[in-house]
C-alpha cells in the first residue's frame, strides 16, 4: 500500500505551497525569528520497503535540528533561526545529496548545492527541497566468482600446466626432423658464437663424443 502510494508520488509533481511562516512575530525582538525548513524525501524507486520513513530522518547541521518524515515523505524542520544549514537525509540504505539552505535575517530562503571546497559557488536548487536518492549504498565487497580464467591463471595451476606442456610438447617438437635440424643449427650457432669458458672446456674435452652419442640416439629414433 505504501509502496503504491509512494509510486504515485514519484510520478506526480507535488506543488507544495511554500508557507514560510514566521513564529513569534509578536515579540519585539525580530532577530530571534524562527523559521521552518520544509521539503520532501523520495524513496528509492524499487527499494521502498515498508517503513522506509521510519528509517529515515532529516538532519540540519549534523544533528542540531531534526526533521521526521510523514508517511508521504514530506518533512519540516521547525525552530530554525536564520543562518546557513546543511540539510542531509539520513537513511542507511540510500545516498542522498545534501543541500545547503540559507535563511537570511528577513526570512528569505535559498537552497543550493553543497560545495565544501568552493564555498562561494552557488548552484541553486528549488525550495521547498526535493531530496531524491542518488544510488543505494554499497557497503559490501562483491565476493569473487569462480571463473575459468581465474583458475587457469592461478600460479599453482600455471605451475602444474607449464611443466606438463613442456613435457608433452617439447618431445613432439624434437621428433620433427626439420625442427631438430634447426635446433641443432641453433645450438651450433650459439655454441660458436658465444664461447663461454665452461662450454669451451666441455666441448674441448668431450664435445665430439657428445655429438656422436646424440647422433646415435637420433639414428635410433629414426628407425
Amino acid at each position: 500500500m505504501i509502496m503504491y502510494k509512494s509510486a504515485i508520488f514519484l510520478f506526480f509533481i507535488i506543488v507544495s505551497t511554500s508557507n514560510k511562516y514566521v513564529i513569534a512575530e509578536n515579540d519585539e525582538d525580530t532577530s530571534t525569528d524562527l523559521y521552518v525548513i520544509e521539503g520532501k524525501v523520495f524513496p528509492w524507486e524499487n527499494g521502498a520497503s515498508n517503513g522506509w520513513q521510519l528509517m529515515t530522518h532529516v538532519m540540519a547541521n549534523g544533528g542540531e535540528h531534526y526533521g521526521f518524515l510523514r508517511e508521504d515523505g514530506t518533512f519540516i524542520i521547525s525552530n530554525v533561526p536564520s543562518g546557513s544549514y546543511i540539510i542531509e537525509v539520513v537513511n542507511p540504505n540510500c545516498v542522498y545529496e545534501p543541500v545547503r539552505v540559507e535563511i537570511n535575517s528577513k526570512g528569505k530562503f535559498r537552497a543550493r548545492k553543497v560545495n565544501l571546497i568552493q564555498t562561494s559557488q552557488v548552484i541553486q536548487v528549488p525550495y521547498p527541497l526535493k531530496m531524491r536518492p542518488l544510488t543505494p549504498f554499497r557497503y559490501f565487497q562483491v565476493r569473487e566468482q569462480w571463473r575459468v580464467t581465474d583458475f587457469l591463471f592461478n600460479p599453482m595451476v600455471l605451475m602444474m600446466i607449464l611443466p606438463l606442456l613442456l613435457i608433452m610438447i617439447i618431445p613432439k617438437i624434437m621428433n620433427d626432423p626439420e625442427t631438430r635440424k634447426e635446433m641443432e643449427q641453433l645450438n651450433n650457432f650459439t655454441n660458436y658464437n658465444m664461447p663461454e669458458m665452461s662450454e669451451v672446456i666441455t666441448s674441448f674435452l668431450s664435445g665430439g663424443e657428445k655429438q656422436k652419442s646424440k647422433a646415435v640416439k637420433a639414428a635410433k629414433k629414426r628407425q
Binding site: I23, A24, N26, D27, T32, L34, V36, G51, Q53, L54, H57, M59, N61, G62, G63, E64, H65, Y66, G67, F68, L69, R70, E71, F75, I76, S78, N79, S84, I86, E88, V90, P92, V95, L116, I117, T119, F137, R138, Y139, F140, Q141, V142, R143, E144, F151, N154, M156, V157, M160, L164, I167, I173, D176, E178, T179, E182, M183, L186, K220, Q223
Partner: protein, 929 residues
C-alpha cells in the same frame, strides 16, 4: 617450426615480465586500495549491535491499537514503542541531542494518538502514529518565555494540549492548543494570587495543587484550571494529617489517570493521599514514606498500588483507594535480580474472563525497565547501557585444561639455579595431568556429563585472542561484563551511592590492575568514583571476568584530583594506583604497593589540569621516602580562564607501542619520529567576546612542563574531537568561515638524527621537534574519533570515526597524513598526493546499514592477532566489530580455497606417479627396440 619455438620462448619471457608487472600491480593495488570492507555474507559474523532507549521518563500502555505495546519517552530524548511480550523495540525515534530535544511531556496514548512536547524554547509538539512511528504533525509552540520553561506544566487530553504556566502573584495562565494543527484554541487566566517563586505546585489535572507555607499552618490550595470563575479551594495540612505532623512537607502527584496527590511529612517518614475533586477527600491512612505509589482503575474502581523494596524483594500492595480495603488478588511480591527499588511508571489492569490481571512497567533505580505480569517478570531491559562512561576490554582466562598445564610448569622459578628441582615429582605431575586429559577426552567421547566447572565452558581464551570480555561502567553506577562473541551480558554488578567526578564531566575511572594472564591470581579491576553524598573518593575492586566484588567499596575520605596506574607490579602481579588528593597528597592503593611505588618515585611525575582555574601543574615524587610518597610541584602553567576554557586533555594510550622509529623518505634517508610518551594535547576553546570562536591546541610535555607546540585556529568552533597517538595528533572542528567540518593533523619529527635511540627522556631532550601539519575538509559531522591499536604496533593505524548520520567510518591515517604533498611531482613512497576533501567511501563504513546513533565514545583494543583490532562503539546503541587496518596478513583469508590447494596437490601427486609409470614404460619400450 623455428618461429614457433622462438615465439614460444618469447612468450615465456614475456610471461615472466608480465608476472613481475603483475606483482608490482598487486603491491600497488594493495597500497592504494585502502578500503577494507566486508563481504555481504559476513554480516553479523564478527559484529553485533544492541539498541537501547535510555532511562525511562514517561511511559504508557497502548491498549487502543491492535498490537498491544508500551510507549516510552526517555532521558536520552528517545520516543519508542516496546513489544509487550518481549520488550523489544518496535520502533524508535531519536530526537535532537541534549537540551534541544529534551522531552517535556508525552500523552494522548489512551486517545489513540501520541503527542510529545520536546525541546527548549519554543518547544516543538510532535504527533506520532502509534502503530508505525511516523510523524503525523509537527508544530512549534508560539510562546516564548526562556526563563520559565522549567515551571511550565503540560497536559495532553482529548486532542488538546494545555500549556500551564503559573504567573507569580497573580494567576495561572492556561493556553490550549489543538494538538494536531497547533491552532490556539483558548487562553485562560485562573486567578491564583498566592503563587510565588517558592510555591511548590504539582499538576493533578484538571487541578493545580500548590503548597503554601512550610510550618504546621501550611495550606494546600487547589486551582481548577478550566474554570475561570472558580475560587481556589484550600485544605489545611491538619485536615489531611491530623494534628502533630511535622514539616517539611513535600507534594507529589501520583501517576495514573486520576487526579490524586500525595503529601509527605515528618521528613518523608510517612505520607497521605488526597483525592482532588470538587470536594477534596483526604484518605486517613499513613503510607510508608519510601513507598512508590500508583493509582490504577479497574471497572471505575480506583486501586492504589504501593511498591516497596526491601532486601531484594519487591512488594506491590494493592488496596481500594477510598476504603483502604486490601486486595490480595492483585498484590504481588517478586524477587528478581534486575529489580532495584523499582517504581511503577505505568500500569494497566484489564478485566479478562479469568479475572483481573495487572501488568506493571517497573523502572528501577539503576535505569533498568521490567514488565511484571501477575507476579512474574516477563522481561527486563538494561537501559543503563545507553549511558556508558568507562570501558575496558579484558582478555578471558585460560580454559581449565590450559590452567593445569600452567600449574605443571608453576615451579619454573626454581629451575634456574642448580637444577635441584625434583624430576620425579614433575614427571608424576605430568602423568597425572595427562591422565586427566585422557579422562576428559574419554568423557567427551562417551558423552558423559562434564565435570562441574566454576566457569562457563565457552568463556575461555581462544586461539587468536578475539574472544574477550568488555567491562562497562554506566552512569547509573551499574557495571556489566559483556562477552564479545554475541554481546551477551555475563554479569552485572551494582555499586550504590557513587557518581562520576563532577569536575571531570561525570567521568568514572576504570583501571585494570591485573589481567587474566597471571593464572593463580584472579584478574582485578578497580573503579574510582565519587561518593554521592560527600563527594569524597571511593575505590571499588572487582573481578572483571566473574563480576565478583573483591574488596568491596572502600571510602577514601578525601577528594580525588588525579589518579595514575603504576607500570610496575607487586609480587602478586598487581599494579597499584597512585591517587592524588586535592591537598596534593599522594596515596597508594592498595597499601601494599607503597614500597614498589616508592622505589620508582624518583622517575614518577603527575600532572593535573583544572578546568575552572585553567591551571595546569606538574608534580614530581622524587622527594619521597620509602614509607611515604611526597609530591613536589615542579611546574605550573596558566591558561587564563578569562580567554579560554580547557575542553580536552588527551594523552596517548598507555598500552600503545610504536614499531617503526622513523619514516623512510624518497631519498632513502630516515626521518625519525618524535615519540614522547609524556606528550599531552590540550585543547581550549575561546570564551568571551573577542576570543569567541577560537580554538587553541597546545602540546605539552607534562614531565618537564615544556610547551612543545601550540596552534590557534580563528573562526572555528566545536565540537572538537582529538586523537593522539604515536607521533601524530588528528583533531576535528567546525570551520565557521567556510561552514564545514575540517580535520587537521599534526605530525612530529625529531629530524634526520635520533637524539637517543634507546629511551626517551623529557628532561634531556631539549630540541623542539619538526611539526608537519595539514588540514582537510571532511564532508560529514563527527560524533567521536578514536585510533585503532594493535598488539605490537606493526599494523598501520586507522582512525575510527563515528559520523552523525549513524555510520562508523574506518579512515586510514594515510588519508590525513600531513606529509601528503601538495605539489604532485613530489613523490614519496606510500604517500597520496594532497586533495582538500577526504572522500567517504561507503565500503569503509564498518557498521554497514546498522546505524548507531548518539555515539558517545569508541573503545579500541588489541587482539591476539597483530593484524586485528577490536572496536566497541557505545552511545544510545552498542556496536562491536573487529577491523584489520592492514588486512588480515597473519591469517588465511576466510574464503581461502582449501579445496583448490588439495586438488592441485593431489593432481600433482597423481600426475607425477602417472608420468613415472609412463616414463618407465617408455624406457622399457625403448630398451626393447
Amino acid at each position: 617450426m623455428a618461429p614457433f619455438v622462438r615465439s614460444f620462448r618469447g612468450n615465456i619471457h614475456r610471461f615472466l615480465i608480465d608476472v613481475q608487472i603483475l606483482q608490482y600491480l598487486i603491491i600497488l593495488v594493495g597500497l592504494f586500495n585502502l578500503s577494507l570492507c566486508l563481504y555481504e555474507d559476513q554480516v553479523g559474523k564478527f559484529d553485533w549491535k544492541q539498541n537501547y532507549v535510555g532511562k525511562i521518563k514517561f511511559a504508557s500502555f497502548d491498549t487502543v491499537s491492535a498490537a498491544k505495546k508500551i510507549i516510552v519517552a526517555t532521558e536520552e530524548n528517545v520516543i519508542a514503542a516496546l513489544n509487550l511480550k518481549s520488550g523489544q523495540i518496535l520502533w524508535r525515534r531519536v530526537l535532537e541531542k541534549g537540551y534541544g530535544g529534551q522531552i517535556r511531556a508525552l500523552g494522548g496514548v489512551t486517545d489513540g494518538d501520541l503527542v510529545s512536547v520536546s525541546g527548549g524554547v519554543p518547544a516543538i509538539v510532535r504527533a506520532w502514529d502509534l502503530a508505525t512511528g511516523h510523524i503525523l504533525h509537527e508544530w512549534p509552540i508560539a510562546e516564548q518565555n526562556h526563563d520559565r520553561i522549567k515551571d511550565v506544566k503540560w497536559h495532553i487530553k482529548d486532542g488538546t494540549l494545555h500549556h500551564i504556566l503559573p504567573i507569580y502573584n497573580s494567576a495561572v495562565e492556561v493556553t490550549s492548543y489543538d494538538s494536531k494543527t497547533g491552532d490556539k484554541l483558548k487562553t485562560r487566566r485562573v486567578s491564583a494570587p498566592f503563587i510565588t517563586q517558592e510555591t511548590e505546585c504539582v499538576l493533578a489535572a484538571p487541578y493545580l495543587a500548590c503548597l503554601k507555607g512550610d510550618s504546621s499552618l501550611a495550606v494546600l490550595l487547589l486551582v481548577h484550571l478550566f474554570d475561570t470563575h472558580s475560587q481556589p479551594q484550600s485544605v489545611t495540612i491538619n485536615t489531611i494529617f491530623g494534628a502533630g505532623a511535622q514539616g517539611p512537607y513535600h507534594l507529589e502527584s501520583i501517576l495514573g489517570e486520576e487526579p490524586i496527590i500525595s503529601i509527605s511529612a515528618d521528613n518523608n517518614q510517612r505520607k497521605r493521599i488526597l483525592l482532588v475533586g470538587e470536594v477534596p477527600v483526604p484518605i486517613q491512612r499513613d503510607i510508608v514514606g519510601d513507598a512508590a505509589l500508583y493509582v490504577v482503575s479497574i471497572d471505575n474502581e480506583k486501586i492504589l498500588l504501593e511498591t516497596t523494596y526491601k532486601n531484594g524483594v519487591t512488594e506491590i500492595v494493592a488496596s481500594e483507594l477510598l476504603t483502604s480495603k486490601p486486595m490480595p488478588n492483585i498484590s504481588t511480591s517478586v524477587t528478581h535480580n534486575s529489580l532495584l527499588s523499582p517504581t511503577i511508571i505505568a500500569s494497566v489492569c484489564p478485566r479478562q474472563t479469568k479475572g483481573v490481571t495487572c501488568r506493571h512497567l517497573l523502572a528501577s533505580e539503576d535505569h533498568s525497565v521490567a514488565l511484571l505480569q501477575h507476579n512474574k517478570l516477563i522481561w527486563a531491559r538494561e537501559e543503563a547501557l545507553a549511558n556508558i562512561v568507562a570501558v575496558e576490554i579484558i582478555e578471558l582466562p585460560m580454559s581449565d585444561r590450559d590452567q593445569e598445564i600452567e600449574t605443571e610448569f608453576d615451579q619454573k622459578e626454581s629451575i634456574d639455579v642448580d637444577s635441584s628441582w625434583d624430576v620425579l615429582s614433575m614427571m608424576f605431575r605430568r602423568i597425572g595431568s595427562q591422565l586427566k586429559q585422557a579422562k576428559t577426552f574419554l568423557q567427551s567421547i562417551l558423552s558423559l556429563t562434564p565435570q562441574q566447572s566454576n566457569q562457563r565452558m565457552d568463556l575461555v581464551r581462544d586461539k587468536f585472542g578475539l574472544h574477550k570480555m568488555i567491562v562497562l561502567v554506566t552512569s547509573a553506577g551499574k557495571l556489566y561484563g559483556i562477552e564479545t562473541r554475541k554481546g551477551e551480558i555475563i554479569w552485572q554488578l551494582r555499586v550504590r551511592g557513587i557518581r562520576g567526578f563532577s569536575k571531570r564531566s561525570d567521568a568514572i575511572i576504570l583501571y585494570v590492575q591485573r589481567g587474566s594472564r597471571h593464572f593463580p591470581y584472579p584478574p582485578q579491576c578497580v573503579l574510582l568514583a565519587e561518593d554521592k553524598q560527600t563527594g569524597e573518593g571511593i575505590v571499588y575492586t572487582f573481578n572483571p571476568i566473574t563480576g565478583q566484588p573483591l574488596d568491596g567499596l572502600v571510602k577514601l575520605g578525601y577528594r580525588i584530583k588525579q589518579s595514575m596506574l603504576l607500570h610496575v607490579t607487586t609480587d602478586d602481579f598487581l599494579r597499584g594506583i597512585l591517587i592524588f588528593d586535592i591537598r596534593d597528597k599522594v596515596h597508594v592503593y592498595p597499601k601494599g604497593a607503597t614500597a614498589i611505588a616508592a622505589s620508582i618515585a624518583k622517575n614518577t611525575y603527575i600532572f593535573t589540569a583544572d578546568q575552572t582555574t585553567g591551571i595546569l601543574s606538574g608534580y614530581s615524587l622524587s622527594y619521597s621516602t620509602s614509607q611515604e610518597l611526597i609530591s613536589h610541584k615542579v611546574w605550573e602553567l596558566l591558561l587564563s580562564p578569562k580567554n579560554q576554557r580547557i575542553t580536552h586533555v588527551v594523552s596517548k594510550n598507555p598500552i600503545e607501542r610504536v614499531h617503526s622509529q622513523g619514516r623512510v623518505l624518497s631519498d632513502r634517508s630516515v626521518l625519525y619520529k618524535y615519540i614522547n610518551p609524556n606528550l599531552v594535547t590540550i585543547v581550549t576553546e575561546g570564551v568571551g567576546h573577542t576570543h569567541k570562536n577560537t580554538l587553541n591546541l597546545y602540546l605539552l610535555d607534562v614531565v618537564s612542563g615544556a610547551m612543545i607546540f601550540s596552534i590557534m585556529h580563528k573562526r572555528v568552533r566545536g565540537p572538537v574531537h582529538v586523537v593522539h597517538s604515536e607521533n601524530w595528533i588528528v583533531y576535528s572542528y567546525f570551520n565557521e568561515k567556510s561552514r564545514r567540518t575540517e580535520i587537521a593533523s599534526l605530525e612530529l619529527y625529531e629530524g634526520k638524527i635520533q637524539s637517543n635511540t634507546t629511551v626517551f627522556s623529557s628532561l634531556t631532550t631539549t630540541k623542539l621537534p619538526i611539526v608537519e601539519r595539514q588540514a582537510f575538509i571532511f564532508p560529514a559531522a563527527i560524533e567521536s574519533m578514536r585510533e585503532t591499536i594493535t598488539e605490537k604496533g606493526i599494523t598501520s593505524k586507522h582512525i575510527i570515526v563515528a559520523l552523525a548520520n549513524g555510520g562508523i567510518l574506518e579512515l586510514p591515517w594515510m588519508m590525513v597524513d600531513p606529509r601528503r604533498p601538495i605539489n604532485p611531482e613530489v613523490r614519496e613512497e606510500g604517500v597520496i598526493p594532497y586533495m582538500p576533501e577526504i572522500p567517504i567511501h561507503m565500503d569503509a563504513i564498518i557498521n554497514y546499514n546498522q546505524s548507531v546513533f548518539r555515539v558517545s565514545g569508541i573503545h579500541t583494543s588489541p587482539s591476539g592477532l597483530e593484524s586485528t583490532c577490536l572496536v566497541f562503539v557505545h552511545g544510545l546503541d552498542l556496536f562491536y566489530t573487529r577491523v584489520a587496518p592492514s588486512k588480515t596478513f597473519d591469517v588465511l583469508k576466510e574464503d581461502f580455497d582449501y579445496y583448490l590447494i588439495v586438488i592441485v596437490l593431489a593432481a600433482l601427486l597423481i600426475s607425477s606417479y602417472i608420468t613415472k609409470k609412463l616414463a618407465s614404460q617408455k624406457a622399457q619400450k625403448q630398451a626393447w627396440k
